[in-house]
């Protein structure tokens, strides 16, 4: 396979090389997912930063197609769980069963043992089942019957949730939302993009586009390692802390972002720098990912529901008000 060959050749990638590989993957996915450059970029940032992605939007906007396209192009093992009210934790993590031939209890892995897991409509299952998945997300391992089994590496969860329906759904608690590195909204296509999507469907004469596999698990890990090489200047860290702190003191916010939000913001900014072929993060990177990284981590005051103000608006306002790093560095830097 082409991807396997490339992976063997590139055990270690520089941020620029990783960014170029990621750009190739994104270009391939764009042939299948039409007119969604921003959500595609954000999901790629989440994968590069080593986190899990929550896609929150209405049905039929291409969430499942997006997740499957990433799995195919990145060469990752892909499983999907359709969350329903009667789903049990063992249906997610797997369970031991009695093998009559060997007369032993044998563990049968659940769908969580994969590289890329699509958790479709995660808010349709009870909290107990949600928690089983979220524990796996946080620890990258599953503990069943006293034994701990590690999950494959990389392990990425792309969960989807419908933000409109309330009947028969179980909203994710804030503590569990915090486990997602970022939240992405798809949004509707413009009229021209929608026309292009229909025309592409007619042209290929098949329900879905066939994507090439351009990468593999090892290369994804190498790209993640390249993100760790991205520098973050001290003033920029102060800026991140100020942004997170501002979510805790904002007048509309009841519970602000956790320190985990600051970590997510830094990692996403570094991944954003890699996508721009840089080995240093800038304030533009932080501002670009702030809403996606922080908005789902804050709880607004209840009265704001009436005023149609959502967390994205509040974080956007915070980004526009918190002072960015000054032009001159606090300490002189040498070439």
């Amino acid at each position: 396979m082409t991807s396997q060959h490339r992976t063997d050749d590139h055990d270690a990638l520089t941020p620029r090389q990783a960014g170029e590989r990621a750009a190739e993957v994104l270009a391939e996915i764009r042939t299948a997912v039409v007119g969604k450059p921003r959500p595609l970029d954000m999901v790629m940032l989440g994968i590069l930063a080593g986190g899990h992605v929550l896609i929150e939007d209405l049905p039929g906007l291409g969430k499942t197609l997006l997740a499957r396209s990433f799995a195919t192009t990145l060469g990752l093992d892909f499983r999907r769980i359709q969350f329903t009210p009667d789903l049990l934790p063992s249906d997610v993590t797997g369970a031991p069963f009695y093998d009559q031939r060997t007369a032993e209890m044998v563990f049968r892995p659940g769908p969580v043992f994969t590289h890329l897991l699509l958790a479709d409509e995660i808010n349709r299952t009870p909290p107990k089942t949600q928690a089983s998945l979220l524990e796996a997300m946080a620890e990258s391992q599953v503990s069943i019957d006293g034994s701990t089994r590690p999950l494959p590496d990389p392990f990425v969860v792309i969960a989807t949730a419908n933000p409109i329906e309330y009947e028969g759904t179980y909203s994710l608690p804030e503590a569990q939302l915090d486990r997602f590195l970022l939240r992405v909204r798809m949004g509707y296509l413009t009229a021209s993009e929608e026309t292009g999507m229909l025309r592409a469907r007619i042209a290929r004469a098949a329900p879905e586009a066939v994507l090439r596999t351009l990468s593999g698990p090892k290369e994804v890990l190498a790209m993640r390692a390249a993100v760790e090489q991205v520098e973050v200047e001290d003033d920029l860290l102060d800026y991140v802390v100020a942004l997170v702190g501002a979510t805790r003191t904002h007048q509309h916010v009841q519970v602000g972002a956790s320190p985990r939000g600051g970590l997510a913001l830094v990692q996403l900014a570094r991944a954003r720098a890699v996508l721009d072929l840089r080995d240093y993060a800038t304030p533009e990177d932080v501002k670009d990912v702030a809403v996606a990284a922080l908005a789902h981590r804050i709880t607004l005051k209840p009265e704001l529901w009436v005023r149609q103000i959502d967390a994205d608006d509040v974080v956007g306002e915070i980004v526009q008000s918190v002072a960015a790093p000054q032009t001159l560095p606090r300490s002189p830097v040498a070439s």
């Binding site: 520098e231 200047e233 920029l236 840089r278 080995d279 240093y280 993060a281 800038t282 304030p283 533009e284 501002k287 980004v319 526009q320 008000s321 918190v322 002072a323 960015a324 790093p325 032009t327 001159l328 560095p329 002189p332 830097v333 040498a334 070439s335």
Partner: protein, 358 residues
């Protein structure tokens, strides 16, 4: 030098206001207000110094208002100033009669008040003044001040022409008072002159043939500052950062200030929002700054050269646009003297030239 600065400042102010269709040809309101405030404060202080009692706070009178001639002159001055002010106010309102009812009533009230004040103030001033009945100089006894022993000394006869009982000695407080009065008079004259200039400039409409976008001068200044920073810098990283900082400072001084939450890209996008900085050069310079500011990998002369090249390209772009903007100027009918219509890049600020920093 002051004349030149004031002319330049007013020209730029006029250009700024040309961007706003509702604004007229007004000068800088801040400078006029400051000059007016100095005139008011210095005038009041000067009046207070001149009218001080001199002998004691409980004295009945003192200062120059003891002199009837001065009182009459002040009264005549008030009358003339009131008449002039009233006529000026009427002339300003003369072409704008379509005022709302409330503003019309207010304008009528001000007009009547000005006319009345022009008459009433001199009359009150004259009627309240205590003119001497005999026509001679006021007698020392009229002050009722018996605490001064020299006034009761009969053997001493004053000099016929002096009018005082003794030769006044010049002491340090006297010198300080005189110096203070001189400073106040000087401040009053300077502020009055500047106020007069400001008020006169508001009546001169800006010539149509000299219109240039204000942002163009702003960015030309910024490019020049950045070029100086490149020349001064010894370290490539520091030079690139200083270059961008100088541009940012120039932009801030010229009205495009960096907001606290702005990233470099935000500021440049706003400065180039008018389309003056098209092309990749401004983006390249911003990218260089970000690399110099937020990375630690080595930077060398190549980066400095790239910054210089970007600055050159920006400067050339601005110069080209300035030339294009000045092309229709000879064809335009320009009745203004040359001092009020400086050519582009002349006294209006540094004109960028490609390759000047090398």
């Amino acid at each position: 030098m002051d004349e030149h600065d004031a002319t330049t400042g007013t020209r730029q102010a006029g250009e700024h206001h040309q961007d706003r269709p509702a604004a007229g040809g007004r000068g800088r309101p801040g400078a006029a207000g400051a000059a007016l405030a100095v005139v008011a404060v210095a005038g009041t202080a000067l009046g207070a110094v001149l009218l001080r009692p001199g002998r004691s706070l409980t004295a009945r009178s003192g200062g120059p208002l003891d002199n009837s001639a001065v009182v009459i002159l002040i009264a005549l001055g008030c009358l003339a100033a009131g008449v002039l002010l009233s006529s000026h106010y009427r002339s300003r309102l003369g072409y704008d009669q379509n005022l709302p009812s409330f503003e019309q009533r207010l304008a009528d009230a001000v007009r009547v008040t000005l006319i009345a004040a022009a008459v009433v103030v001199p009359v009150l001033l004259l009627s309240m003044h205590d003119f001497p009945s005999g026509g001679g100089s006021p007698a020392p006894e009229q002050t009722g001040d018996d605490d001064f022993p020299h006034r009761t000394l009969p053997p001493f006869t004053p000099h016929p022409g002096s009018g005082a009982g003794h030769v006044p000695s010049i002491t340090l407080p006297h010198l300080l008072v005189v110096a203070g009065i001189a400073v106040l008079v000087l401040a009053l004259l300077v502020a009055g002159y500047r106020l007069w200039r400001q008020l006169r400039r508001t009546e001169v409409p800006p010539p149509a043939g000299t219109y240039r976008p204000a942002e163009q001068d702003v960015l030309a200044d910024a490019v020049d500052s950045g070029r100086r920073a490149l020349l001064d810098g010894t370290d490539a990283r520091a030079a690139v950062i200083a270059c961008y900082a100088a541009m940012e400072t120039s932009l801030a001084h010229s009205g495009i200030a960096r907001r606290a939450s702005d990233s470099p890209q935000d500021l440049l996008a706003r400065a180039a929002g008018s389309g003056l900085l098209t092309g990749p050069h401004a983006t390249d310079l911003t990218a260089l700054f970000r690399e110099a500011r937020y990375s630690t990998h080595p930077m060398d002369g190549t980066h400095r050269d790239r910054a210089a090249a970007a600055l050159d390209a920006i400067a050339a772009q601005l110069a080209e646009r300035a030339a294009a903007a000045d092309d229709p100027q000879p064809a335009a009918d320009d009745p203004q003297p040359p001092s009020d219509t400086p050519p582009a890049g002349g006294t209006g600020g540094p004109q960028p030239r490609a390759g000047a920093h090398r």
